[in-house]
């Protein structure tokens, strides 16, 4: 449980961090909260020569609203996301999702940016980030750019982040009126990771119809994805339990579910259906102003 030796670097500014990352290339790993990277290093499954700790950077930890978007600094911890009154009021899905991550220790140290950059196939945030159509702002020594959530998750532990890029901010559009969200998750009992995690965002229309819907799925396949078949089956339709149950069946339709000690592919597919139904029902009830 002792990591291979590495050189620790603790830049004080983002610019300095980006310079270091550019200089060391793939020999360096960026350390945010350390709750994914450090366990891997202790097990020597990861052995970077340089660790660039973002812990001393100021100004990357905030949650604020600006021009119809909620901006969250990359170093904001899960606990800060979970307890943010702004998020609870305007984007409860992310706060609700953060509350489901690991345990209190993990939530107190782990960060939004760190979790997204690591892209664990069973991480919770990706489902919500996808359902919310978030944008991920990144910086490198040559400039900044934003990546749409849909384009961000590429494969197992692989994102659209380039070699010298660091996530700086996550931007979430404030939800439209009459919008309800829900994150429902089947926990792996030992690690707390999602065997299946479904984030649903639903905007209620007139006459009991579903005006808009977005479903993000994590834990089921090597990368998180939007369940577009489920969305299509619900969008513009008048909601009823049968329709929802039917639509939820497509939650893992487009993927070949993962199989491991904790859950077979068949079980994951089935649970994706069950938890999609629950998330949709709860999000819809909230969108319609019912207690759920």
């Amino acid at each position: 449980m002792i990591p291979a030796s590495f050189e620790y670097q603790a830049p004080k500014t983002l610019e300095e961090a980006l310079r270091l990352l550019e200089r060391h290339g793939d020999e360096a790993k960026v350390l945010a909260g350390g709750h994914s990277l450090l366990p891997l290093m202790k097990l020597r499954l990861a052995a970077p020569r340089f660790v660039i700790d973002l812990g001393r950077l100021r100004g990357l930890s905030y949650i604020r609203e600006e021009q119809g978007q909620i901006l969250i600094g990359a170093m904001t911890t899960h606990a800060e996301v979970e307890t943010s009154s702004l998020l609870r009021a305007k984007c409860s899905l992310l706060a609700e999702t953060a509350a489901e991550i690991g345990d209190a220790q993990v939530r107190n140290r782990g960060t939004l940016g760190g979790s997204l950059a690591h892209a664990d196939p069973a991480a919770d945030y990706p489902a919500a980030i996808l359902a919310l159509d978030a944008e991920i702002a990144v910086a490198s020594s040559s400039g900044t750019r934003t990546i749409a959530a849909q384009d961000f998750f590429v494969d197992l532990l692989t994102t659209a982040l380039g070699q010298g890029e660091i996530i700086t901010e996550v931007r979430i559009p404030v939800c439209a009126a009459k919008t309800g969200c829900s994150y429902r998750k089947l926990h792996q009992p030992a690690s707390g990771f999602a065997i299946v995690g479904i984030a649903a965002k639903i905007t209620a229309g007139t006459g009991g119809k579903i005006a808009d819907v977005a479903i993000g799925v994590t834990g089921v396949s090597p990368k998180a994805y939007r369940a577009q078949a489920v969305e299509k089956a619900l969008r513009g339709k008048k909601a009823n339990p049968k329709l929802i149950a039917q639509a939820a069946r497509a939650a893992a339709q487009s993927v070949e579910p993962l199989s491991d000690l904790h859950a077979s592919a068949e079980y994951r597919r089935e649970m994706a259906t069950v938890f999609a139904r629950r998330a949709i029902e709860q999000a819809l009830a909230r969108a319609q102003g019912k207690k759920a």
Partner: protein, 150 residues
């Protein structure tokens, strides 16, 4: 862990067969392969650096091709050990002509043990799929390159 699937490759079975039986070219299509040295008929010593993002480790061991029926089928047997554990496995590869292309069918079973299995169990399936996908991408590009040169 069971692995199986089929994959369409852009060349004839004979060309695919030639690639699989040429150590210099075989080494090019194994992701992270650092060495593939013949140590006997159809037996090679290998060193592979396996990595998915920042996670990985070095493995070394042997690869053996058995039960060869050119250009139709062969069995691959592999044994390797490394810092994060061991991987052994055996798989059957079958080649069938599909027009000018080759349908490659594979099925096998791998045993993964040690640290990598104990802590990486959750990601083994996804990691294995990724390596298999990489192998086929590299085979396809190596075949195209050879066809271009020929």
């Amino acid at each position: 862990m069971k692995l199986q699937g089929t994959h369409l490759l852009p060349e004839t079975p004979q060309n695919v067969w030639d690639l699989l039986n040429d150590p210099a070219r075989l080494a090019k299509v194994l992701p992270g392969c650092e060495r593939l040295d013949p140590i006997g008929p159809d037996k090679y010593k290998v060193a592979v650096k396996f990595a998915v993002a920042a996670i990985g480790g070095s493995f070394s061991g042997t690869v053996e091709l058995r039960e060869k029926k050119p250009p139709k089928s062969l069995t691959v047997r592999m044994e390797s050990r490394g810092t994060p554990g061991f991987v052994t496995g055996e798989g059957r590869v079958e080649l069938a002509a599909k027009g000018k292309q080759t349908e490659l069918k594979y099925s096998g079973e791998a045993q993964v043990g040690g640290l990598i299995a104990a802590v990486g169990q959750r990601m083994l399936d996804a990691a294995a799929r990724r390596v298999v996908a990489q192998v086929f991408e590299m085979i396809a590009s190596e075949l195209k390159k050879a066809a271009g040169e020929g």
